[in-house]
Symmetry: C2
Subunit: 358 residues, 2 copies
């Protein structure tokens, strides 16, 4: 079974989150990103690393800053509001850093929700947004429920289909608890995120049946190198009998809210690296007393935690638990950065001419 590569003292280096923030921010600035945008991009990447979502973490500063440098990402990006109502906006990401436009969109959604109860933004002309739940989580400190989705170029087949037509089109959803940890869901609508297949390849283990198929519909257990140009990930549910139309249906829902509602294009119209994004904020206080809401969240989370487990399992988790376990460790002890990635970030800092501080 492919689980995460365990980062430890021999394969990684612990770095304080605040130092990573400074280092990443300085790299983004050095290639021409305005300071405020550089800080946002760094913050989203560091947050992913702190939460243990290393595939979307600090190492991405290398590629993203290259995209800024070579003009694939437009900098400074112009984030125009194309249309707007009290509660909604269609925004352009200005073909800039996806992290920055998704962040800005959620800021606007929260402002609108404060005034009118709800805020919803669909973002076109965008790029990769990293850990999608980040934007949903921005709602938490405002006592709001947040939701975020992003659509991407094809990697996943439709139910009953044999060719990739949909992105992994993930869904983020965050709701605040009181004494318990907040509920934070972050899920690709495919059986697994693409990153897990790449990970299996890097560490040299086969992937389980149910994750990917050839164009002939045959199971792949040893995925070929590179992007999945010739094969497809399976939608969540995988087979007709186990509900593949559900993962597929959710992926299309994400495509509609992100790609069609924004006009930026659905998965099959997107080039690799293009992402259209959708965010929503819901002001809980417009519905009921926030403390009562959080107390009920706590009750729900405690009851779920207390569920008897399947044989061989330690405990029943609630969405966000693994990431908060990682956060507790990484805030206290520093963020482990895999040694190859650590070297790459340092090299990139030197290359763009900023002080290496990690």
């Amino acid at each position: 079974m492919v689980s995460k590569v365990k980062l430890n003292d021999s394969n990684s280096t612990r770095v304080r989150a605040s130092d990573l923030q400074k280092q990443l921010s300085s790299i983004f600035e050095a290639v021409g990103t305005p300071e405020d945008h550089a800080e946002i991009a760094a913050k989203v990447l560091v947050s992913a690393s702190v939460r243990g979502v290393d595939t979307h973490g600090v190492a991405n500063v290398v590629g993203y800053s290259q995209s800024v440098e070579n003009g694939v990402y437009t900098t400074p990006q112009q984030m125009d509001i194309i249309s707007e109502s009290e509660t909604t906006a269609l925004m352009s990401g200005g073909n800039g850093i996806g992290l920055v436009s998704a962040y800005r969109a959620m800021e606007i959604a929260i402002e609108k929700a404060k005034k009118h109860g709800l805020g919803m933004i669909s973002v076109r002309d965008g790029h990769h947004v990293g850990m999608v739940a980040y934007y949903a989580m921005m709602a938490l400190e405002h006592d709001m429920i947040g939701m975020s989705m992003t659509t991407a170029a094809p990697a996943v087949r439709p139910a009953l289909g044999a060719k990739k037509m949909l992105g992994t089109n993930p869904i983020g959803f965050a709701a605040p608890a009181g004494e318990e940890r907040d509920f934070v869901l972050d899920m690709a609508t495919s059986t697994v995120a693409s990153g897990k297949v790449g990970l299996a390849r890097r560490i040299g283990v086969p992937i389980p049946a149910g994750w990917a198929v050839t164009p002939e519909g045959e199971e792949i257990t040893n995925p070929p190198e590179g992007e999945n140009e010739t094969w497809s990930l399976n939608p969540l549910g995988n087979t007709r009998e186990q509900g593949s139309h559900k993962g597929y249906g959710l992926a299309v829902m994400v495509d509609i809210l992100c790609g069609v509602l924004s006009g930026g294009g659905f998965s099959n119209q997107l080039a690799r690296g293009e992402n259209m994004t959708w965010v929503m904020a819901i002001d809980i206080a417009k519905f009921r007393d926030v403390d009562d809401f959080k107390a009920m969240m706590d009750d729900m989370i405690r009851e779920l935690h207390a569920t008897p487990t399947l044989p061989g399992e330690d405990r029943v988790l609630v969405a966000g638990d693994p990431e908060m376990d990682a956060t507790d460790d990484r805030i206290a002890n520093g963020v482990p950065v895999e040694n190859g990635q650590y070297a790459a970030i340092r090299a990139r800092a030197a290359e763009v001419g900023v002080e290496v501080i990690i």
Copy 2:
């Protein structure tokens, strides 16, 4: 494999949808449901039957009208708005007919979306709402995107857990197309809806591995009689490796929006038959030109339909296709009502003293 029981000339009777509407409406009225509520309840049930969703169709008039008669459903139901903002409302279903309160909630959501772009209602004190996508679909004729969810008493285990803690907590999502059929997703967040297990039992076939487990986590292939008091349905994804935390996470998301946001209670606090419901309407025109939106929907749907299939499959479907195939047939040729259910509806009509017109 369990698929639908094929209704044919020997096991069912074709009835015109308009006659079913009149018959059901008259039964609801006869037990004390106000005329307008009776018509709504009938409309939702007939719509499910027309769409081929027979588990949520016309036969339910028998049980629902008994619940009205014996006071389990309060009639006439008082649907108070407990709190309200321009875009949101917390509504009580008045412990009445769930179909009526969900319908009313979506009417309000659409009114709010017309004025302010978005409308969102969470409904407490509710009962079973039938086919959940009905309410999302109400948005379509207003050129809106609709979304609807409902939470229910436990039937499904959490990922890694062995005891049912969550309802099948389905999600409905509808978005209008132009020349193509509208996109209508209606999915339980469990591997299968409860109805399929009951169906397997009735027709005497085993259920596949992956649908249900004992409290010891063992696969069930021959589910015991009655409700799943001792066993659990699996969340969509089923195993850790295939993404059971995703189906589980979605089920909790539904619980939060329906049960916690409304204050009506999450799944594990609900008695069987209690359902809390959430609906949202999104006015597409606030984002972009509606015709352009629909044209892009058409393009997306056509491309999905044109996907090469897995071996042995006829065609790639888009959510809503099977229901529209059924609708085309059933509007033209009448709605097939399984003979036992046909007799039960007629008997119920006679029992409550209304003319038997089907």
